[in-house]
Symmetry: C2
Subunit: 292 residues, 2 copies
């Protein structure tokens, strides 16, 4: 029973009762049908049909095969329907991953998406570790930094996150306002642990001020924001968060190198599915608001 196509051929012969009818239904030549039946019977060592000039008559074995193959045919048809329908509907599990910094932005978007599609289950992973799309760990990833260029990954620009160098009112009261860029060396900063993040801002900061001036380091972006809020030092905060955080004063005009691009990354095998397209569209629509 190695060749499933031969079983399918035998199935149609048993259903139609004739080789010619089965051949027409299968879209092949009737000689092919005869060969399939002969091969299958030779493998099984049992005649599946009694041949007579008016058609093929299924034996007991043939009738048994008919029943089993009928069930298989039904199940395959249902399977094909499910798979094709699944490709056109937004349902099943959807795994999205991003850095933790994006959680407060992305979560509401995914929650909205889930509300719109009843059959959808969202799994939102935010970890500093890079989930690998090609291993099926996630369907969609939000990545920051330079353009990801892994093979088999589809990359789309999501947004430009402009950041601003800010300090809290309490910090300014204590240490004063820096007069200009050169004066920054006399101040204290909140930074990201360099072993974790290699954001462009970090490189800039390390060039401008000595390492000992970065007096507060964390590997969590939210913790960094909190530190800036509470006056632990001067820090870089993206426009989006700045709008939600009162009492922060911009120190110097934003520099272009603080502009961190972010990307929507999907695996090429999943990129065309309606489900993935839906979440991509939702995230891109939301990104317009974030940038405004």
């Amino acid at each position: 029973m190695e060749n499933w196509d031969e079983v399918r051929t035998a199935f149609h012969v048993a259903r139609m009762g004739t080789v010619s009818g089965a051949a027409e239904a299968l879209g092949v030549h009737h000689a092919t049908v005869i060969r399939h039946i002969d091969a299958l019977e030779a493998q099984l060592g049992v005649k599946l049909f009694q041949r007579h000039p008016r058609g093929y008559n299924a034996t007991e074995a043939g009738l048994d095969l008919l029943q089993v193959a009928q069930a298989t045919d039904d199940q395959f048809a249902q399977l094909a329907g499910r798979i094709k329908g699944q490709g056109e509907s937004v349902s099943g599990e959807l795994v999205v991953t991003s850095l933790g910094a994006f959680a407060s932005l992305i979560t509401p978007v995914l929650a909205d998406l889930q509300k719109k599609h009843a059959g959808l289950t969202i799994k939102y992973l935010n970890s500093e570790r890079l989930f690998r799309l090609e291993y099926g760990e996630a369907h969609v990833a939000v990545r920051t930094g330079p353009v990801p260029e892994q093979p088999d990954n589809v990359v789309q620009p999501l947004m430009q996150m402009q950041s601003h160098l800010v300090a809290s009112q309490s910090y300014i009261e204590r240490h004063g306002m820096p007069k200009d860029t050169d004066d920054l060396v006399n101040h204290y900063f909140v930074g990201v642990d360099p072993t974790v993040s290699r954001a462009p801002f970090n490189s800039w900061l390390e060039k401008i001020v000595p390492s000992e001036r970065i007096t507060f380091r964390t590997d969590d972006t939210n913790a960094m924001f909190e530190a800036v809020m509470h006056g632990a030092g001067i820090g870089l905060v993206a426009t989006t968060w700045l709008k939600k955080m009162p009492g922060l004063t911009e120190i110097i005009p934003p520099k272009l190198e603080w502009c961190i691009p972010s990307w929507l990354v999907t695996h090429v095998d999943l990129h065309r599915t309606t489900k993935v397209q839906a979440v991509l569209a939702a995230l891109k629509a939301a990104a317009v608001d974030w940038q405004a």
Copy 2:
């Protein structure tokens, strides 16, 4: 979902997780496996697997296919086992046909066979009409007369039925014993309706005596025997029955032309099955006793 072999290939890929493993399991080249997957995904319009250099990872659709195909594989394996086993075991329905005259001989043989094989269902058709083996109307037929020479039918000799010209005691008391063959024209005979049976004995009888001397005609062999028993006339009775019927006297020595051969006929497609072979063996063994 036209090509079941491609489904089978995808099934093995989903099971193994690698194209190479699936190719080895299937006994084909891995290039073939890749082509099958590509073709199937193109047909469905949905990716079944995420490709990465260490193997193939099934998507939701691929996992769905895996489940369905696993069930199919199991069912096909069971089917193959049933069919192969069925070919080696004596079970299921067995249809035997013969002339009504053989009923009293064949019935006990078939009953014995059924007792030996629990899973066997016997269907014994005895009708004057010829059942057609090539239409699956019967598995085994007992035929009399000249060698049946229909194509696709396997013919084996069963026995030679020697018949004897006999009369009952009551007939002899009424009409006397024929002195010799020439005296037969002065007697009365029980014959078979010529439109039904063309047994050799009939031709001989028609030649020897005028038609009006055949005063009892029937289309049923058993009825003929009964008629002879009750003195309706002189008739031809086979050795087998003669032994079971007391009070019959042989009129003249048996002639060779009264020797009717009988044959076991099966369709070539069913002849090699163990079931058919079992009934053939049983009938041939019984025939030895009948002739003794």
